[in-house]
Symmetry: none
């Protein structure tokens, strides 16, 4: 059931079947625990064919990461219309993100969990994607600041940290939503939007949180 085993399929199709199988196995077992035997079997092909097309376990894993990263960025890109307001763009992006990750849990596991912990080479692949998203979010923050008639000269590192925290929150929330029954992508997006945007909004209006107490051991919180 599922995959019909038929001989002589075009190479591109066979490769996709192999990647499908590999993403599922890598996502479930992790890079090291996944065995090429299992992947070949699930893909319905013989092991030497996997090597013929994908070269090695490392290359196969890299191919998985690339494909899943491309699919995720494409999903987010497609979900966002750049001619709308910044907050709307963020909302649409989050919704697309949570929707895609909930529909591709194995792919998300590969990107979020597996790829980060098996050597710089793999992590770099994910980092590239991640930086694209962080850059997009950073851009939105700057635009939002401009729309709010504020000087767009927030310290660069500050903005990077904010974007990082936002993306990190989104990633954690995605994992949590995948593991918690009854949480929809829309709910996740709304939670994060409320959480984040209101905080950003306050900051845009010059009302960052500050420490009320004046005890000696705590310097002013504005990051230099």
């Amino acid at each position: 059931m599922g995959v019909v085993k038929s001989k002589r399929m075009p190479r591109a199709v066979r490769e996709q079947q192999m990647l499908d199988a590999a993403v599922e196995i890598f996502g479930q077992r992790g890079y090291m625990a996944a065995s090429m035997d299992e992947i070949a079997e699930l893909a319905g092909v013989s092991k030497p064919l996997v090597y013929l097309y994908l070269n090695s376990k490392e290359d196969l894993f890299t191919a998985c990461i690339r494909r899943e990263a491309a699919a995720l960025t494409e999903a987010v890109r497609t979900g966002v219309r750049t001619d709308l307001a910044a907050d709307r763009q963020l909302w649409d992006g989050l919704l697309a993100f949570f929707t895609h990750t909930s529909h591709h849990p194995h792919g998300w596991s590969v990107l979020h969990l597996q790829a980060r912990i098996h050597g710089e080479a793999f992590a770099a692949e994910v980092t590239a994607m991640r930086e694209e998203i962080v850059a997009f979010v950073t851009h939105l923050i700057v635009v939002a600041a401009r729309e709010a008639h504020r000087d767009p000269d927030l310290p660069e590192r500050e903005v990077a940290g904010l974007a990082e925290a936002l993306v990190g929150a989104a990633e954690s929330l995605a994992a949590w939503a995948n593991a918690t029954a009854g949480v929809t992508a829309r709910q996740s997006a709304a939670t994060l939007m409320n959480f984040a945007w209101a905080g950003l909004g306050n900051m845009m209006e010059g009302r960052p949180w500050t420490l009320q107490d004046t005890s000696s051991d705590t310097a002013p919180l504005q990051v230099s």
Copy 2:
């Protein structure tokens, strides 16, 4: 250089050396890729001694997780004074958290990345710690709402989602700070505090973010 190789040490000392080595190797390579050979060599002992004291690779990994989790919770607990205001408690907790994770990057890698992906047994150890922290944050949110003279009847799942997002943001930020030169624990704590608290503050005052546009495909964002 570094570790002085001296023979015949009492068991307790040797065990700590082994755990130190194991945390470093597990943190760098991951559970599966780490080899007992490498750990024993880094600890400056022979492999059989590692097995004599720590029993098996699984038990060794579990011991690492337990030790690092205990150290982290202890650090946060020690950093927080429960008689202060909720926002101050959150600030102190975040500062202690980022300080500890930046001082123990391998330990944090073990907890945050490695332990979660190698079987329920290991993940459960971390989950216990994480739930303690999420519960603490949830508590702070409820207290803060009360202090702000608001009804403390935020929807339970909403609060859970917020706490999850906050903790997730902190975790991601910690990993990012460890990997990015020149980011101090204080800066991370300040970034997250500004980001999160102001957002929470807005919500407390009844000003959550809402979608301005009224296009047809987007329902109201308030989570039911």
Copy 3:
């Protein structure tokens, strides 16, 4: 010399080669002392292939036991014609038994010595075969009693003990014959036949051995 090392043989053939090697090594060294390395080398293949085909050391040992037990019972079964007289059947069976064990000393060692002392699982395999043989011998005893016009109601445990002793004597004699130069299967069979059958014959005729002396510490010998 001996085994020609040729690559790429069909699986069934390789499996038999492996079992041949395993029986020899297990028979010589015993289960625990035998190493998979040695077996693989003697079989002329690499260790992974042994595991690929036979799964584990336990499974390999079990396969050896099964093959040797089947071969031995088959040899005895083939040697006996059930339409002949009981004594002739016993003679033919003994001859087939001693012939087979002398031709397959390693296999006999595996069955007689090795399999019995490495866990219930292995012993059970042999016990099954042994019980088949003991049952056959028991049957012959009963038939012989009937042919001798005697009531076939010898006490059941008595018959069981007799059969046990007879089979045990045969087993020991086989081991002894294997280890002693110049003893043929025919001689072993004749010795045992004389020894056992004449004894049984006497008993059939109501002349069991009894203790002549009447010293106090020795009760009558007839088992109740």
Copy 4:
């Protein structure tokens, strides 16, 4: 309970404790599976002490075999009075044998099962004892033949085979009796005595079993 742990016992006593423990462990687990750790623990002493007194695992095993073999021969020797008739001597010897083996199952396991399958060196120790017993039985057979007024010129190999079969039957019966609830030493001795002696008796009177049938493939059974 059982062994009282007290310091500073004379060497001879300590050695016996170690041998007691070793016989039990070797008897249960077999030579290879027995670990020196376990033996030392059961003996209530530290491992280095075992090595100080008994030198090595091999030497320890050899010591076990020697002690158990000596105990068994001593038991049989004590049970037999050489001034009685041959059949009475055999009966007394069998009774002593079955009594001792049933009282020392671990020791019997070491001698009968373990020692035979771990290298010539160990087997030789048992063979020495076994030959002593076989010689004794052979002697009894010759004496009995003389008492029966028969020429004592039974072929030597024939007698050796008979003695071997008798001893083998006894050994098997001992193992079977140990494993079968409710079989007493006296019953085992009686069974074997009836079985064997009556057979021998017939032979003494010139009535060995012979093959009745005259089919071509079976030569006369009298061993040349």
